[in-house]
Symmetry: C2
Subunit: 748 residues, 2 copies
């Protein structure tokens, strides 16, 4: 342990670790000096994998191309002087990025060595591992440590764990070819201390049920397998005390819902998946008896599939803190899909791999290449579904409605999930809409320019808290210009929406949810449906948002839309020669009020154009509603925000209000061929009633189309699936069972 | 002539036509009752073409697919009730669009009949022609006539000519299968009167050297060939009086410059090309002795190729009135490229056809399909070039500098052309820059939502005149907030920029132009260069813009950029809580001033991100310059304008000023793989001097890079290519001949 105690920084950290654990680690370190008894590679890639690749490569053009491309990339890296710098910069800075490039290069060079037997790659990995083995013992805590979780090579231990996950795989690729002396040096000076630092050295993170904990568990556990150190493996699987209260298995159990949803949302789900699937693969190789991929009703495979379901046109739904250009082709999902395909042989996963267009030279990557070359891919079945949130599935849900599976299909996402911890947004009952390959009704995502140092060091911008997380940045009701839970995520964490019902049929897909805790004393209930009509090309979105309170409040319902405003029927006054912010706090300070006007009783419409298609938002007036046309960008001296547009429907003072809206997707603008079709909305009338006289707990919205067709959506306050309801409408009587009914041709 | 005199509307119009012409037309009409002596088709498609398609179709999968797809499209049209409505609506309205759909459908059904021999298509065309023959004699001038050039089926005769160009081709496809009775009816009641209306009926337009005149000439001439009416043909070729002063040949001569540039710019060049290439094809078939494609040094083939050179990543440069989504895949260029390929067999044209992805079932289209199926396509050689403007090539020029030919190559366009008539913008010495597949330094294009009725009926918006054409909407100097030529295009028409020099070599591509008439008493001289540097991945753009006047003025130099502002080094005051327009007139009223600050002496930089690449604009301070950050959208109550960003460098009061700027393309932001490279500019110093002491008529700009590399661009006032210049710089003496020199490593 001399190499440990010589480091003052780590030494002080270790004081927090219990003595018994130190003994345990010490014992295991002495037990196996280096990985002499294990045949390598045998971690995420096995000797059998390599054998298969080597013998069958010539028959798989896709893998050959990947090999050529990877050689070219790594050859270029090897041609440069090796650079293992003394840690200095924070995230995004030079040394940070260089250490990231290094672990990536070691991992890939290791694979290349295995596949090609070219010792150039072996020598590169060896030389770099030795350079790290030289450097690592000299390091204390990183000079720019991040909060409570510093690393040594990196500013935060999360990056250190990522480094070890890659590096241990690289080591596994070359270990059998290294001299005993090299191995002792690398294991003693580098791998063991790094694993030790990430486990015993930071028990809070290591034992945390959180993606940082998973990265640490994966790094430590994978190191345990390679170094044949059962203690490290057991700590990784069962927690530092090996009791099973923490560790990888608990993380699988607790971090994903029964439907494979990760509480922080798809952006972090993707990130979190990487250590899950890589470590699981290593477990499957080394301890197949654990049946890790069967564990908890196939929780990991479910999480991989769910992450694909959480995307539209390759990009993840941008809910919560999310960089919106992240999608299914990220490296985490390239590994995830390939590992899942390797286990399941599900041809739909091949379709995703095809879109990823990134063949890995691992065993599982090779089998994807084989599958693709054999033309086995089948379309991935994007589905309408409800993804329950929370470990027990009782913390709300994300509802996804889809109309088809093609590139341009319609998808509605209603966010009835729980807060999602510190990366969650204050956006209960929020929704998004996608069509024609684009995001149409949008979420701002995170306010962050990842890795762009000039933008706040590449970190989350201050505007992430002050704008992106705030309720007004979302498509849901804001009461009195305050955000949900008064903007406190820990308060938000306590109360998830209640899903009232969820149903999918040919004609209608519908869900309803409510929450009473976002604003104490005020209840929010929203019902959203995707309704098909015989006379329309695309389904309509119907939205009934009911706000009730005992006292009077101001209610705002924003709609953030992407596109160019084409026309509207509001008598609005435009602020043409002076713009001022709409408010002072909670995100309102960033909104310029561009125009404003009363929404008269009856239907008003706003139409915009996105790419080559029109979208018309038809809304009902009443309660002295105002329509405010806003543009983002006030109080933004550093140009940190995108200049996006929103419509805000404001009810100045009311105890209750029901917002009724219909979104229609219609027409085509064709610039190349110079024609425009159906630029006008087909919705000609919108009427809301409360089922006068018969059952006053039923909301009825009637939509009439230009074709003469009409339908009514009736939604009962009683969400019981067995309650029977009766409704008189236009002189007819309708009877049905359950919380809602779609009544067609209700008008004459 | 009874069918003519029965129409009151046309009758009154005909009063303007000279008596002798009426006699001429009458005579030719009597001479050939119907096209009985001509073997059809024999216009743009010949019997030999059809024979070739029929016998070889099975060997050309590309054409088979086109046939399947066209059948599907036309079968769907035929399945609907035929609709030949009484004209009623203006452009974009229902009857307007329906008549457009009809001529398109007749043309395509005619081709389908020829290729498939399926009489369903014959019957469809026949029935529709007869319906038009019924309708046409009942029509007077269109009820919503456009200005001085009304049509009968359409609001303007331009559309009527387009209708006839398509319809005469459709008739040519079916004429041989029609009864003598049908033919007489169609020719007498429809085709002859339409041709007559477009020629003798509107002599001003027909004889005009303008694209409207070309459409009319093509319609009339093609009708002449099909009806075997030599008078119509001669009028089309040589003008109404057949003197040769007007007509198609004059249009070829006068409308394109010696380099194939069309004065109105690429957007209208594309539009104008259609009648040129179709009529030329018909001439080539019927009067091959005219060698029409050889005419005027192959002017038409040159115009086709030039129109491709006027594009970047499939889209035309958006100069002058231009809808920016128009590009090389428009139908005009699909015909143009195919006809040009048919004549030249140039494999580079096939590469364009491949990108167009639209196979025509004409003879020339079929030969394109054959070429593509045989894999004959070769990359199109996009080139750096100067396209002289004006019939004699002496009305300025468009300079295009390119760095490569791939999808993402860099392209700089400097607009030193003439005004370009009524669709021209007030943008002398303006420039655009393209990179990475995107427009980076931009032109707003036209303010118009083509065919979108809600936006001012789909016409040019009022903002096209008040914003898009104004100088401040471009990247060139505005003096005293007035537009060039005081915004009068007829004044602008009189004075084109003088091109001082143009040169392309490996290291530098450079051009310089000046104009003294844009602002009386003020001279504008701009030199722009694309300079390669060994230490940079992409070339730098160097811009030296010299404004000199005898009296003091305010000078503004805008830069309209596309992207998200990342950082800048200006001490700017941001207007965070109130925005006001920058000015009152000439486009300034549309610009919100978002921030403003002094540009201190020395270099200042502004960096923005577009997609995954960074762009840094390095500018020199001095003369109390201010940098104004603007955003478009003030005084825009109808949301007619896109919300775009610009930087304006303002010199409040000076007799002269030289704007020195360098634009660097650098780095990479990779969201998927989470890395950022070279986000900072490599330009570390920018110095301007006037070659102190040695030769005061030389401007020298020295750029120093972070690599230590430096270069100086020296530009002499004397643009003679033989003048010798001497320059002392940093203690060294440089001697060269010609107007400029790129001096490398000028610093120690």
């Amino acid at each position: 342990m001399t190499h440990l105690t010589s480091q003052a920084g780590l030494h002080s950290l270790l004081k927090t670790v219990t003595c018994s654990l130190l003994v345990l680690i010490g014992a295991s370190a002495l037990q196996v000096a280096y990985a002499q008894n294990v045949a390598h590679p045998n971690l995420t890639v096995t000797q059998a994998d390599i054998e298969a690749i080597r013998t069958q490569l010539s028959e798989v053009p896709g893998a050959q191309a990947a090999l050529t491309s990877l050689r070219k990339k790594i050859d270029a890296v090897i041609a440069l002087p090796m650079d293992v710098p003394v840690p200095q910069d924070a995230g995004g800075g030079y040394t940070h990025e260089q250490h990231k490039r290094n672990y990536q290069a070691m991992y890939e060079a290791g694979l290349l060595f295995q596949v090609t037997q070219d010792t150039t790659y072996l020598n590169f990995v060896r030389k770099m591992l030795l350079a790290y083995a030289d450097l690592y013992p000299t390091l204390g805590i990183h000079p720019k440590p991040k909060e409570q979780t510093p690393g040594k090579l990196f500013w935060q231990s999360l990056n250190e764990a990522m480094w070890l996950v890659y590096t241990i795989q690289a080591y596994d690729s070359v270990a059998s070819q290294l001299s005993a002396e090299d191995r002792t040096l690398i294991e003693t000076n580098l791998l063991r201390p790094a694993a030790s630092y990430l486990s015993a050295g930071q028990p809070q993170t290591f034992n945390k049920i959180h993606n940082h904990g998973t990265w640490a568990a994966a790094a430590v556990g994978m190191t345990g397998y390679v170094l044949n150190d059962q203690t490290l493996v057991k700590q990784a699987l069962y927690g530092l005390d090996m009791s099973g209260d923490a560790g990888f298995l608990q993380q699988i159990t607790q971090l994903f819902s029964p439907d494979g949803y990760y509480a922080e949302g798809p952006y972090y789900q993707r990130f979190a998946l990487m250590p899950f699937v890589l470590f699981a693969k290593a477990i499957d190789v080394n301890q197949p008896e654990l049946k890790i991929f069967e564990y908890q009703d196939q929780a990991l495979l479910k999480a991989v599939r769910t992450s694909i379901q959480l995307s539209y046109n390759k990009l993840f739904f941008g809910i919560n803190d999310a960089i919106k250009d992240k999608g299914i082709d990220t490296i985490e999902l390239v590994h995830g899909i390939a590992i899942a395909y390797d286990i399941t042989s599900d041809p739909a996963l091949l379709a995703i791999a095809q879109r990823q267009n990134n063949i890995l030279l691992t065993g599982y990557g090779f089998r994807v290449a084989q599958g693709l070359d054999q033309g086995l891919a089948q379309p991935f079945q994007y589905q309408s579904m409800q993804l329950r949130d929370g470990q027990a599935g009782d913390q709300g849900a994300l509802a996804i409605f889809r109309n088809g599976i093609d590139h341009g299909h319609q998808a509605l996402v209603m966010k009835n999930t729980s807060q999602g911890l510190g990366h969650g947004h204050f956006d209960k009952l929020h929704w998004l809409y996608f069509d024609n390959g684009n995001e149409i009704v949008s979420d701002y995502g995170a306010a962050r320019f990842l890795n762009i140092e000039a933008k706040y060091g590449g970190h989350y911008l201050p505007e992430n808290n002050t704008w992106a997380k705030q309720t007004v940045a979302h498509n849901t009701v804001v009461v009195d210009e305050q955000s949900h839970f008064d903007g406190d995520w820990q308060v938000g964490q306590k109360s998830a929406p209640e899903v009232r019902f969820f149903a999918v049929s040919d004609d209608i897909q519908i869900t309803s949810a409510s929450i009473a805790q976002a604003y104490p004393g005020t209840n929010l209930t929203r019902t959203m449906a995707m309704v098909k009509s015989a006379s329309l090309e695309h389904p309509l979105i119907v939205d009934i948002f009911k706000v009730t309170s005992k006292s009077k409040h101001q209610y705002d319902l924003p709609l953030h839309f992407q596109g160019q405003l084409i026309s509207h029927t509001i008598s609005a006054t435009a602020h043409t020669s002076k713009l001022e912010p709409l408010g002072k706090n909670n995100g309102y300070q960033y909104l310029w009020a561009r125009a404003q006007g009363p929404i008269k009783p009856g239907m008003s419409q706003v139409t915009w154009l996105n790419e080559n298609r029109f979208y018309t938002y038809s809304v009902l007036g009443g309660d002295d509603q105002q329509m405010i046309f806003t543009q983002l960008g006030a109080n933004d001296p550093n140009f940190n925000l995108r200049s996006e547009s929103a419509l805000i429907r404001r009810v100045k003072s009311a105890k209750q209000h029901t917002y009724v809206s219909v979104l229609e997707t219609h027409g085509e603008y064709n610039g190349t061929s110079e024609y425009t079709k159906n630029a006008r909305s087909s919705v000609v009338e919108l009427v809301a009633s409360s089922a006068a006289g018969v059952d006053e707990n039923i909301d009825v919205v009637t939509v009439t189309l230009v074709s003469g067709e009409s339908f009514s959506l009736a939604v009962a306050e009683d969400s019981s699936s067995t309650a029977e309801h009766t409704l008189e409408l236009n002189g007819k009587t309708f009877v049905w069972t359950g919380p809602y009914s779609l009544l067609t041709n209700t008008k004459n």
